[in-house]
Symmetry: C2
Subunit: 281 residues, 2 copies
């Protein structure tokens, strides 16, 4: 795959054209929305002339666009194709109405995320301009262990993924971030038991998040949604039911049989058996 400059054992190969093109796309990211040609070449590790040729083709197609200042940014055409990702469009489309309601009820921050590897990717975010500042953004990534959405996704992830995360480093974003694997393990068990994760001050000391799992047609947890509220004077008890209800509503819209079976109402006593059994799956 990565045929960098590594010449090993006889027949070596340079990076394929495809890899170079993807490398150019990788040069863009949060905090690097617009780049000069040289900047792209530098970031992608390509000679300037090569970058020039490839970027030119990408721009012609519409994957990149050139601003008035000469810098390149991601183009509308690429966004269009990306919008077809089922984990974005299909999920978002059905979840939106529920996120709406939750946003309207709290006027704070509502987030929807999916897991990719050892990170959570935020697929949607509704934020009131005057709400607590949240570090996340649509398309952004965060570690699983430190956020509400992430802890939920991790709690219901395959056992292998959980062990990998527990074994790896657990960076602290604030003094209150969980960094002890044992504490995290117990927290995940609690999340499975309660069906909701409450993270207070783990990303930002001033913010608290309440998250719940969203299930797909095969009952697997496919996403997680959360509400972020100011840490000071927050009352989780008032929010937890709303978050759980919204998560259940989305699960139902996605075709989750369990969410359809139980007609809402007994949210205060979630079933523990299936939740714990899930970890093995």
């Amino acid at each position: 795959m990565s045929r960098r400059d590594d010449d090993q054992g006889g027949s070596s190969a340079g990076p394929s054209v495809t890899a170079r093109v993807l490398g150019i796309l990788s040069a863009f990211g949060p905090g690097a929305e617009a780049l000069t040609l040289s900047g792209i070449a530098r970031a992608a590790g390509l000679p300037l002339s090569t970058a020039h040729r490839l970027v030119g083709e990408l721009a012609t197609w519409g994957a990149l666009e050139r601003g008035e200042d000469g810098r390149y940014h991601v183009g509308l055409r690429l966004w269009e194709v990306g919008a077809l990702a089922p984990r974005s469009l299909g999920l978002r489309e059905r979840a939106m109405p529920y996120l709406e309601d939750l946003y309207e009820a709290t006027r704070q921050n509502v987030q929807l995320g999916v897991r990719d590897g050892h990170e959570v990717v935020y697929v949607e975010r509704l934020a009131h301009p005057e709400a607590v500042r949240v570090f996340s953004r649509v398309g952004g990534r965060m570690p699983l262990h430190a956020t509400g959405v992430g802890q939920v996704l991790l709690a219901y992830a395959p056992a292998a993924v959980q062990e990998e995360v527990l074994a790896g480093p657990l960076p602290a974003l604030t003094p209150r971030t969980i960094t002890d694997p044992q504490v995290l393990r117990r927290t995940l068990a609690a999340v499975r038991r309660e069906g909701v994760a409450v993270c207070d001050g783990m990303v930002d000391l001033l913010a608290m998040s309440v998250a719940a799992p969203v299930r797909g047609e095969d009952e697997r947890v496919v996403a997680s949604l959360s509400v972020v509220v100011p840490s000071a004077g927050a009352e989780p008890r008032a929010i937890v039911p709303a978050v759980r209800a919204a998560a259940r509503g989305i699960s139902r819209a996605l075709g989750s049989p369990a969410a359809r079976r139980r007609p809402l109402g007994i949210v205060t006593t979630p079933p523990t058996a299936p939740a714990d059994a899930e970890r093995g799956a």
Copy 2:
């Protein structure tokens, strides 16, 4: 031999590797969110083995993902990069709160679109599950002349673009769609004069849309937003002010000086001079 299909040089660019990769991405689209390898090869006009190799690389990087049924769909990684497009993320981020309010007030459909060539691309859409069925979708395209959002974007587009559209074919989506260039020309003038477009039954006989322009920091129209309501018994007068106010709010959030200068209120008498002068720009 290798470039046999289009080696005449007549049709578009030669199939460089980059072009082939982009061709693969182009194979996906609304109604084709998941494709088999052969399907991709067919759609992109590539030999199966070539498609196999390129798709494999794309999947390794995360641009494509392979579902459990073996079919490929657009991957989360590509969505992430696409989300960096300034015309999507930057615009959406600031517009969301206003779209929210508009959605909350109408409980129907709210749309935000930008122009790309001779089409409008919908960047955001809030829809109530029980609202009028709307044909558009996030990431979807529609012709400029037939939709509210499109007419606004066209009315403030560069003169060259307007002439191209007026000269080209104007396909009818319903019997009420504008197909006469002269009628369209007068309609666009009215849009500039009024600062809003009202499209009744042009996309769907049962739906009506009210659209208004969104301006950026340099006063140019960068987007357009609309509300779609049932055609029957609709009262535009009740909606127009709300749409105009929301559009102005977004313009202000984007840094439009004019929107900042005028403190809301005299929306019934919009300035005609700058609006008409704009067409020349």
